[in-house]
């Protein structure tokens, strides 16, 4: 594991950002060329939501991986978090533009009446301050303690995202429940009372 960590130290953080936007470029490109089937809007919207969930899982996996396996990904956690937010924002953007096509009355009604959309939007709004403070200047201004407290909102954002996914499925499908299970597992792993501050 030390050798893995040594190799990881040589990997520039920029590479993670670059690799992180590739799924979007790939998916959007496939949509343009017919690779997403005959309803590419829905496919893109769902893919972006899934990538957001996957990056959120990755963010929350960083600490347990370090604690239990000794794998140190701390340097990349900010990039993973920013990418998670990017995919949440793109998911929302596709919903408003390509899917609902700026039908503000319907968007407004959905935001009030649809529980899964309320939950998803709550996850986005809670993630927004985290994205805005994911830089060294904000960390200095807030101070380490306040910054860490604020960023514990991630513990809420991931379960909300997973619940959003579970709620919009027509049946009890396996995939959304797997994300919910992952979210619960990643939170339970943090319940070690001796290390409550981690």
């Amino acid at each position: 594991m030390d050798r893995v960590n040594a190799l990881l130290r040589r990997l520039p953080v920029g590479a993670v950002y670059l690799a992180g936007v590739l799924p979007f470029v790939w998916t959007f490109g496939r949509g343009l060329t017919g690779g997403l089937g005959v309803d590419p809007v829905k496919a893109l919207e769902q893919a972006l939501g899934l990538y957001a969930l996957q990056f959120l899982v990755a963010v929350l996996a960083v600490t347990p991986l370090r604690r239990h396996l000794g794998l140190n990904l701390l340097r990349f956690r900010r990039a993973l978090g920013v990418l998670a937010f990017l995919y949440m924002a793109l998911h929302l953007l596709v919903w408003v533009t390509l899917d609902l096509q700026f039908r503000w009355a319907e968007i407004g009604a959905d935001l009030v009446k649809r529980p899964h959309i309320v939950v998803g939007m709550a996850a986005f709004l809670l993630a927004l301050p985290l994205a805005l403070t994911s830089n060294d200047a904000a960390l200095r201004r807030l101070g380490g303690l306040a910054w860490r407290r604020l960023h514990r909102l991630t513990y809420v954002v991931l379960p909300l995202g997973a619940i959003h996914f579970v709620m919009l499925s027509k049946t009890w499908a396996l995939e959304p429940l797997a994300y919910l299970a992952a979210a619960i597992l990643l939170l339970v792993l943090r319940l070690n009372p001796r290390r409550a501050a981690a």
């Binding site: 949509g31 343009l32 017919g34 089937g37 005959v38 309803d39 590419p40 809007v41 829905k42 893109l44 390509l98 899917d99 609902l100 096509q101 039908r103 319907e106 009604a109 959905d110 009446k113 649809r114 529980p115 899964h116 709620m167 919009l168 027509k170 049946t171 009890w172 499908a173």
Partner: protein, 304 residues
Amino acid sequence: MPVKSGLKWSDVTPRSVWMNRRALMIGAGSALVAGPALARIDAAPSRYSTDETPNTLEEISSYNNFYEFGFDKGDPARNAGGLTIDPWSVTVDGLVDRPGNYNLGDLIKDAPLEERIYRFRCVEAWSMVIPWIGFELSHILAKVGVQPGARYVAFETLLRPSEMPGQQRDNFPWPYVEGLRLDEAMHPLTIMATGLYGDELPRQNGAPMRLVVPWKYGFKSIKSIVRISLTAEQPPTTWNKLQPSEYGFYANVNPGVDHPRWSQASERRVGGGFLAPRIDTQMFNGYGEEVAHLYAGQDLTVDF
């Protein structure tokens, strides 16, 4: 009353369609995939057809909710190829004069085929325009003789897990069942579709015979039918059994009654890639003039 006549299902395909298909195979076969249906089909045109541009055959046959072949909309096109549709028999029972186990070809051989270009609105808020070939359900009902006590028609999809991989999972109450009130079933807009775009119905679209009720959400239009029962009581329907608060027995397209989890005010018309337009959903999917009278006196927010 088992019937064996030697007639095969393929024997009922109208000559015009066969000729049309041969011409296509000789000519540019791929033109069928892209072009609108009207110009190439000899099945009798219908005054009930919309003049909207139909979706392409590829769109109609690659984006299907047919859980018998998997939950993903691409699964039916991938997994339905092995379904045996010939021979095919349909059991007709309940309150009918001539119940029996009919060979499909015998059951429908006298029914006049028409092309019906219908709007198709899924409960998931997407829609297409589909050039079905079929005949009015009332032809079958007249043939088997509806008894006076009958008030509903129940339908059942094939149960054959060996050829329908989705049925190998037990998280769904197979077989799929649906139903109509008798007046809905007798309405001239209600058809049994056996073809699409001048050819036999693709398996993923419900071959060899499916219901099409254009003013109702798509899940009412049950596919690959093996049983038709006339009943006095309202029959159970699959989605209603699964989620009674979300899917009613009637399931008429209604922009004013939301699905509990999403709006039904508008729909995305499939086609056009990322720029597929979102359009307003019409009451009864635009067939109100023909069918609204069926529901006079009913509160459609209760009977949704």
